[in-house]
């Protein structure tokens, strides 16, 4: 058995975007639930409760967009293979598909061989590719709805093509349903990280703060 050492896995941009995304999504979810189904919270019409909540929602929306686009940019330019875009598409290679199957068997209690990858396991990487697709859906539908206040503005010109794909109400429903998918993902994400921390014993939970994982060398 090889020796254990600390391996630098998650670069600074990976960790920063991870936590910015997390804070933005929590903010967006809480404010979004209120915007979708508000309660009467003001005593006078001169209050601005919904106004501020929407403002926070839009600021968090811009923050998430910048963070997600920065992360996609980093995936394309980084030399670190754990952050690079290939990590998220194991399905493209035979070896990757084999690893996905192995991880699936472990999660479904068919196999006892824990994936134990230094970066994301193949199934997790694929899940994040899907999650980023959901992020882009939220950003697109969100800005399209936001731009409706100025139908001839730049924002509307940039996002109005989405109304070819969705009716206006369909756009709202999609924005709403994807939020629930992301909530479901968050539950799965925290659980799986916890499970891997226990079973893999590589310190994956603390690695998203420190950047280091415990890895056993090969020989």
């Amino acid at each position: 058995m090889g020796h254990l050492y600390e391996k630098y896995v998650w670069e600074v941009p990976v960790r920063v975007t991870h936590w910015v995304n997390m804070l933005a999504i929590v903010t967006l979810t809480v404010t979004g639930l209120f915007i979708g189904s508000p309660k009467t919270v003001a005593l006078t019409p001169s209050a601005f409760a919904m106004g501020w909540i929407r403002f926070i929602h839009f600021v968090a929306g811009y923050t998430l967009s910048v963070s997600v686009l920065a992360r996609i940019y980093w995936a394309l330019v980084t030399k670190n293979s754990y952050a690079g875009w290939r990590e998220f598409f194991p399905i493209l290679t035979r070896d990757g598909r084999h690893k996905m199957l192995a991880a699936f068997k472990y999660y479904t209690f068919i196999s006892k061989k824990v994936p134990a990858a230094p970066g994301h396991n193949a199934l997790a990487g694929t899940a994040y590719a899907v999650v980023f697709l959901l992020y882009l859906t939220m950003i697109g539908t969100g800005f399209a709805l936001y731009s409706e206040r100025a139908p001839n503005g730049i924002l509307h010109k940039a996002f109005a093509w989405l109304f070819w794909l969705f009716s206006n109400q369909g756009m709202r429903l999609t924005h709403h349903c994807v939020m629930w998918l992301l909530i479901a993902f968050a539950i799965h994400h925290v659980y799986s990280a916890w499970l891997m921390d226990v079973k893999e014993k590589g310190g994956v939970m603390s690695s998203i703060f420190s950047g280091y994982k415990t890895v056993r060398s090969k020989e």
Binding site: G36, T40, A47, I183, I187, Y191
Partner: protein
């Protein structure tokens, strides 16, 4: 309305150019007329200096010919136009048009009426204005709406194709409207789709606001061209702003004061109808400022949410009218997106909790740190 039924060759020269006399006859003062001109300039989003220019343009107008075609409609737009109880300046503006054909109001009938229309098409080719009310069926060669033995599509192609411009009044003529709602049994479409070669301006709404028709015609008389439009052919002066952004209940929305049930305290106090399914946030129309029936009121003003009637396919996409979000396909109508979402989240949590319990009792499935590749 004048000039229909008897052919406009019989009109005396005075009748052709007598706007001031027309005003006097109807008992409208010069002051009221100038007020109307200023109000129309405002409706068209023109600077106040255009008020006198509108007055001059109307004074000098040379009776343009207008024909009003009615297809698959409920005549609601004609009703909206005729609703004014007293002679108004707007009514007179429409009077100065030579309305040579209009199914609902013309005296002539049958072949005589159709002959009138044919005469306009021949003699005024490229100069007359066509107004279309109602959708045009295209399915089964358009047999679902025939006038004088000819299909609506056939007649529309001929009339709108030869017009200077076509004004589609109401949502049916603009985008198919209610006849085009799923399953659209007659294959109904709007004018722009039925006659792609025509110059069409859409004035949707269910019904259209007659003020917007007057303003569009005034714009045409003043500038000899049609007003600027948005991506779906609606003039920006009337459809450039979202209802939600000009709504008199908007302060309640921003404040956080909502009607939660019909007739509740909030409803009585005039709170925002957002939770009652108001589609103001996704509908562009000048209802909040222009209002209906001589600026008396409009749906949200009288306590009912906007139904989004000036948007294409509103009957299919804006329903249910009294809910914020549409129904999720495949689920019962009482199941909202949030109920489903909450179920999904709870289901996920339960599944992973179960997985966690099994994993906790499992042995021999661990590793000692991640492994190098």
């Amino acid at each position: 309305m004048s000039g229909y039924g008897n052919g406009h060759d019989q009109k005396s020269p005075e009748q052709q150019f007598s706007f001031s006399r027309l005003l006097a006859e109807k008992g409208v003062s010069r002051r009221d007329f100038i007020k109307f001109c200023s109000a129309t300039a405002a409706a068209l989003a023109l600077p106040p200096a255009f008020g006198p220019q509108i007055a001059r343009a109307l004074d000098e107008v040379k009776r343009p010919t207008l024909v009003w075609l009615e297809f698959q409609s409920c005549t609601g737009d004609t009703e909206a136009l005729l609703r004014a109880a007293n002679p108004t300046v707007a009514e007179i503006v429409l009077d100065i048009l030579s309305i040579d054909y209009a199914e609902t109001i013309m005296a002539a009938a049958g072949h005589l009426a159709e002959a009138n229309l044919d005469k306009v098409l021949k003699e005024e080719k490229g100069k007359y204005i066509a107004v279309v009310e109602g959708s045009i069926p295209l399915k089964d060669d358009g047999i679902y709406c025939c006038i004088g033995g000819r299909t609506a599509a056939d007649r529309a192609r001929e009339v709108c194709g030869g017009a200077f411009a076509t004004i589609a009044v109401g949502t049916c003529a603009s985008y198919g409207g209610i006849p085009a709602a799923a399953p659209n049994p007659t294959g109904a479409v709007g004018v722009a789709k039925a006659v792609p070669s025509a110059t069409v301006i859409n004035l949707p709404g269910c019904p259209l606001n007659a003020d917007n028709l007057t303003a569009t015609i005034v714009h045409f008389l003043l500038f000899k061209k049609l007003p600027a439009t948005d991506g779906i052919g609606r003039p920006l002066f009337a459809y450039g702003k979202r209802i939600h952004d000009n709504c008199e209940r908007r302060p309640h929305f921003d404040a956080g004061q909502y009607v939660e049930a019909w007739g509740d305290q909030g409803h009585r106090k005039g709170f925002c109808l957002y939770k009652m399914g108001c589609k103001g946030p996704e509908t562009w129309h000048n209802c909040p400022t222009q209002r209906y029936n001589d600026k008396t009121s409009w749906p949200v003003g009288s306590g009912h949410g906007c139904a989004g009637c000036s948007q294409p396919m509103f009957w299919d996409t804006m329903t249910p009218f009294y809910r914020r979000l549409p129904n999720v396909p495949g689920f019962g109508i009482e199941t909202t997106a949030d109920t489903i979402g909450l179920g999904l989240a709870a289901g996920t949590a339960a599944a992973f909790a179960a997985h966690g319990v099994v994993s906790a009792f499992r042995r021999g499935d661990t590793s000692e740190g991640a492994k190098e590749e």
